[in-house]
Each structure stands twice: as C-alpha cells, then as structure tokens.
C-alpha cells in the first residue's frame, strides 16, 4: 500500500498547525511548505487512484472502528477522480499565488493556511463516508472561504464575505436539521448504512430530510434561488480565490448534492427535479451573465450556469448522463480557473474592473490575452478544445434519453455564451487601448500555472481518450449503489464475525 486516504486530511491539518511555527524559522517556508504538501498529496492521490482502478475501492476506517460506528473514508474511482482533480487545481492555484501579498508577511501566512484548508475541506467532503463528518468538512471549507473572500480589506469584499457568511450559516443549519432527522429515525450517520436502511424511514421524514439537504447543499452548489452570494464572492475575492471557488469548492458542493440524491435516498422524481432546477439555474445565470459589465461577475454567472448544466446532466440519470456531467465538471474545473487567473491579470491595474477597460490589451499583454481567449473558446464549446467534448457528451446523453428540451436549451445557451464571451475577446483584440489603463505583466510562476492549464485543455481537446476511460469508470462507480453499500458494510461484517 502506498499510503492511506486519511493522509489527505491529516497531513494538511498538521501542516496548517505547523505553519505558524515555521514562520519563526524562515518566513519563506510559509509559502513553500503548502506547495510541497499539495504536490506530495497530488502524487499520493494519483498513485492511490491507479491502485484503486486495479484493485477496487479502498475503505479506510478511522480510530479502528468499523463503518456504522466509526467514521470511514472512501477512495473509489469516483471520489479518487475528484480528489486528484482538486489537488491538481490546488497546486496550480498555489503556483499562481506564490508571490501573492508579498509586501505584508502576516496576511500571506494566513492566506496560505486558509487556502490549504479550503482545499482540505473540499477533499474531505468528497472522501468521507459519513454525513456528520461531511458537515464538519463543509464547515472547514466555508469558514476558510469567508476568510479568503474578505482578504482584500475593503468595504465590498467585507460585504461579500458577510453575505456568504450568512448564507453559509443558514446552509449549515439546514444540513444539521437534515442530519438530526435522519439520526432520529435510523440511528446511524454512515452514508452506506443510511442508504441500505432508507426504506425504513417514514416517507414524510425522508422527503423533509431531502428538502433540507437540497437547501443546505444547494447553497454550496450554487443552484438557482440559493446562489445570491456567489457573484459577489467571486468578484470581490482575490483572483486565485475566485479560481479556487470555481475549480474546487463548487465541485465539492455538487458532489455532496449528487451523493445525497444518488446514494442516500431513492426518492421518486428527484432526478427530474435536478433537471428542472438545473435548467432554471442555467437560463437565469446565463441571462444575468450577458448583462454584466464587470469581468469577474460575468465569469461568476457563467460558472453558476455551467453548474446548472452539470446538474441537468446528472439528472438525465443514465450512464451516459453521469459521464457527461463528470466530463463537464472536469473540463469546467480546468477552463474556468484559467479564465479567472488570466482575467484577473487583465484587469489588474484598472479601478472599475469592468469589461470596457480591457480594450486593446491584446497587443500589450499578448500571453495573458491569448490564454483568456483560449479559455473563452474552450468554455463556449468550440471544437478543438475540451469544452467541446464535454458539451457534446451532454448532447448525446440527452438525445439518447429523448430529452429534446435539454438539447434545444444547451444549444441556445451556447449561443448566449458565445455572445458574451466573444464580446470580451473582441474588445481585447480589436478595440483601441484606453490611455489610463496600465498593462500588468504576470509573474513567471503565474504564467507557468496558466500555460499548464491551457496545454491540458488543448490536449484533452485533441485526445479526449486521455480521460474518458477514467470518467466511464467513475460514473460506473457512482451509479452502482449496491456495490458502494456492500463495499463499506462488508468491513463491518468482517469485524462482527
């Protein structure tokens, strides 16, 4: 065995506690150590993932108690894929923000602790097999999120953070109510155990628990009426944090929602609900995106819209649908951070951060502009890039399930996306530069981080087979609920025998 899944949580926590001490030794360690830790975990995640694909799911029990009694972590082809993706994005974001807040030492120490914990919380949500433990990780993730949002000390960022704080607290309250309901009825907190006993619950309690889960997790997953905080947070948080939200945090929220709907309960009509809520989210968010005049708000709304599309794809419910949803998640997790990272350099020196100030920057910031344009082309789904294959797989999945409305909607929305993304690209390349805007050349590590993302997007675009087999394996795992329950509870049976 190369390592155990618990290290994904234990090592970052240990590091976070150690960072304040490292700061006394050498200040630069505060920046270097998180990167080394994330890189180590990424390597570990990749090697564990390879092992899982060969030998089957790893169920790690904590404190030596078998699943229904103790907490367990599940590293399956599905969760392993997501944790690898998150760690990779975390590494890119660390590389990008290595020089962040260089002037003040104290905030940069706190920035790296919070960033590390944001990632750890997200990975914990994905790996855990226990609903209360998931709640704890959601807390860790959102509290780091509040702190990071308010990092540019100013009125607007404090407001955004406060809004997120209020929404997040309501979200955790609903989650706690759902957990109480389930525990009072079934006497267990383990996901597999709940899934195997869910039919014993009275239907009214089951529905209410599901409603609470959707309300609570919907806030993290940014589904339509609950996503009021997202545009503010994305636009007020520092650039790399916007990228971390769109690449890591939202994915964790979606995962938790999908886990509840697919595995925990088997409620009739919840998949149709996903399709409907996803479509509403998609339409509203894209309509809002086209009206924005600030670049980061536009990207935020676009991100919400893409998450709506992911939910629609999950709602199709077939193997193809889940595959498409995962493809979309992976591709969005690569493209949207690229847009955020390059976009925040494009508006680095402008006061308004508005789209107008991007005029003609193509000549002055060639690399950043090119990467932004590449991201824009990829996210609207034009052929040679990864976004195309993601949208294509959604369309085929919808067509094979006879959901013509979804096909029409996806195509129509793509046109809307082309309009607002190409409006920006057009301004960057074909307008005359305004005098007042001073171009900002990215630091070398930021350039490196963005180029890596761009290369991967292009590579997946030309060779989608690079990842499709993994995605098929992952969607197989998610849909095979019986196997999930058996994998976890068989450990318990071995103990009692």
């Amino acid at each position: 065995m190369v390592g155990s899944p618990v290290l994904f949580v234990a090592i970052p926590l240990l590091t976070a506690f150690l960072i304040p001490l490292f700061a006394y030794i050498w200040k630069e360690l505060v920046r270097i150590i998180p990167g080394i830790v994330i890189l180590y975990l990424l390597v570990l995640s990749v090697s564990l993932y390879g092992q899982v694909l060969r030998e089957g799911t790893i169920v790690e029990q904590i404190a030596g108690w078998a699943p229904p009694w103790g907490i367990n972590l599940v590293f399956s082809p599905f969760t392993g894929l997501l944790s690898t993706l998150m760690l990779f994005m975390a590494f890119i974001i660390w590389m990008y923000s290595y020089r962040f807040k260089n002037i003040d030492f104290e905030p940069s120490k706190k920035y790296f602790i919070l960033l590390l914990m944001l990632v750890t919380g997200s990975i914990g949500i994905v790996l855990t097999g226990d609903i209360f433990n998931q709640f704890v990780f959601i807390e860790i993730m959102s509290i780091s999120g509040y702190g990071l949002t308010a990092f540019y000390v100013g009125r607007d960022s404090a407001e955004a953070s406060f809004k997120y704080l209020i929404m997040g607290s309501i979200s955790s309250m609903f989650l706690l109510l759902a957990i109480i309901l389930i525990y009072s009825q079934l006497g267990t907190l383990n996901m597999a155990d709940i899934a195997s006993k869910a039919h014993l619950m009275k239907p009214e309690f089951k529905i209410l628990a599901l409603i609470f889960f959707i309300l609570g997790l919907g806030i993290e997953a940014e589904i339509f009426p609950l996503n009021g905080w997202a545009p503010d947070v994305y636009s007020q948080a520092p650039g790399p944090i916007g990228a971390a939200f769109s690449g890591i945090v939202v994915k964790a929220g979606i995962y938790a929602l999908i886990r509840v709907i697919y595995t925990l309960f088997d409620v009739e009509g919840s998949l149709q609900f996903l399709v409907i809520i996803g479509m509403i989210t998609l339409i509203i968010a894209e309509m809002a995106a086209i009206r924005q005049d600030k670049i980061k708000r536009m990207l935020a709304y676009s991100s919400i819209g893409q998450m709506g599309l992911v939910l629609v794809a999950f709602g199709i419910g077939t193997h193809e649908g889940v595959f498409a949803a995962l493809f979309l998640m992976v591709s969005h997790a690569l493209i949207k951070p690229l847009l955020f990272l390059s976009g925040s350099y494009l508006v680095f020196n402008s006061t308004e951060k508005s789209i107008k100030e991007l005029n003609g920057l193509g000549k002055f910031m060639p690399l950043t502009s090119f990467l932004f344009a590449l991201g824009a082309i990829a996210i609207v789904g034009l052929p040679p890039l990864s976004g195309f294959w993601a949208k294509w797989s959604v369309l085929t999945a919808a067509a094979n399930s006879g959901m013509l409305l979804v096909i029409g909607l996806v195509l129509a929305i793509s046109i809307v996306e082309i309009v607002y993304y190409f409006r920006v690209v057009n301004r960057i390349y074909f307008f005359k530069k305004e005098e007042s805007v001073v171009p900002k050349i990215p630091t070398i590590n930021a350039k490196f981080a963005m180029v890596i993302l761009a290369v991967i997007i292009v590579a997946i675009g030309f060779y989608p087979d690079l990842i499709t087999s993994y995605l098929h394996e992952a969607s197989e795992t998610l849909l095979d609920k019986g196997n999930y329950i058996q994998n976890i509870l068989s450990v318990a049976q071995q103990v009692t025998q």
């Binding site: 155990s4 618990v6 949580v9 234990a10 926590l13 240990l14 976070a16 506690f17 150690l18 304040p20 001490l21 790690e60 029990q61 904590i62 404190a63 030596g64 108690w65 229904p68 009694w69 103790g70 907490i71 003040d104 104290e106 905030p107 706190k110 920035y111 602790i113 919070l114 914990m117 914990g124 209360f132 433990n133 704890v136 990780f137 807390e139 860790i140 509290i143 780091s144 509040y146 702190g147 990071l148 308010a150 990092f151 000390v153 404090a158 953070s161 309901l181 009072s184 009825q185 079934l186 006497g187 267990t188 907190l189 009214e204 309690f205 209410l208």
Partner: protein
Amino acid sequence: MKKVLVLLLLVIFGVYLADVMFSLEFGRQVFTDGVRDFYLEKSPLDLKVSNTITAIVVNFRGFDTLGEVTVLFLATTAMGGILYKKRHAAGTRSVLFSSSKIVMAGSKILFPAIILLGVYVFIHGHLSPGGGFQGGTIIATGFLLMLMAYYDYSVNHNVLTIIESLAGITFAGIGLMGLVKGGSFLENTMPVGVMNNLFSGGLIPLIYIAVGFKVGAELTGLIYTALHEKD
C-alpha cells in the same frame, strides 16, 4: 404585498416543519439497530471510560473533533487576517479605562481559581461531565475577566500562537501515531488502564488536554484580537 406573501410562505413552512418535528418523538426508541447500543456497551468495556459522550467525541468520532478544532483554528486565523490592516492603521484599544478597584481586586483573586477550574474540567474530561472544549472556554473566560478589569493587561500573542500550534500538532500527531503503529488514524494505541482512574482511557485524556490548551489559547487570542486593535 411582497412582504405579506413572504411572511405567509414562511408561516406555512414553519407550521409544516413544526408538525414534522413534533412527530419525531425525540427520546423515544424509534430505531432498534442503530449505533447507540454499541457505544454504550463498548465505552466502559473496551475503552474503560465512564463518560460515554467523551468516548464518542474523542474516540469513536475523534475525526470530527479534529475537524471542529480546525474550524476554531481557522476562525481565529481568518479573523487575524481580516483585522490585520485595521489593527495596524488605527492602533488603539477599544476599551480605554480600567474598572473600579473592587472589580480589579476581585478578578485578581478569581483569576487563578478560574484557570484551575478550567484545567480540572479538561483533565477529568473522561471521568466527569466536561472536556477539552468546555475547559478551554473556562480558561478563556478567565483571561476575558482580566482583560476587562485591567485596561493595560496584555497577553503575549506569540506565546498564544505557539501553544495553539503545539496543541494542534499534538492532536494530529497522536492521530498519525496510530497509523504509524500499523493501526488506523486516531486508533487507541495506549493501555486503557482501570476505569474511573485519572490515568485511564488510553489516548482520550491526552487528546482532551491538547484540545483544552488549544481552545483556551484560541479563544483568548480571539478576544484579544477583537479588543486590542493594536498588536
């Protein structure tokens, strides 16, 4: 009109919620094969801990506790990060005068007693009600009392940071020790001793002592940061 509609919706939702929550029958036995019996049976037998809640919080679900400790750590870290600029720009303390002589003299007498009580509560977490979180909070109230009584009372921030970090490292390190010894994370690797003795329960008291130090240092730091706008 809009407000009335919202109110109406909230009332409907509230009535529905109340109805379901009242029919939950809290305290009655509705499930037969839950985890409860296992915990009640195992904590005196295997762990030799008479406080079952402590056994659940620190051993069975110790991973959650590690998470909760981290939540507190993050809250202080985030607050320090956000208030940093304000603290350095303004540079004054929000409370500028001392309390009366009676309060000052009284709190000097009470302070050691409060600290002692806090330490007692977290050391005896596995024997009696209470534990690391409660004990740590009691300790922080002692410092709060001193900070309110004396306007020039100060706590060394570096010491707090070091205590906080060392306690966190102890907790996570104890967890990893189980992994190193070939078991699982946070597994009890020490002899459990005799029930109701002070030195019993394996790793449980050690973890609770770390939690007590950590919570005490963190809450004190939090109060101090909020009260002193100057470092």
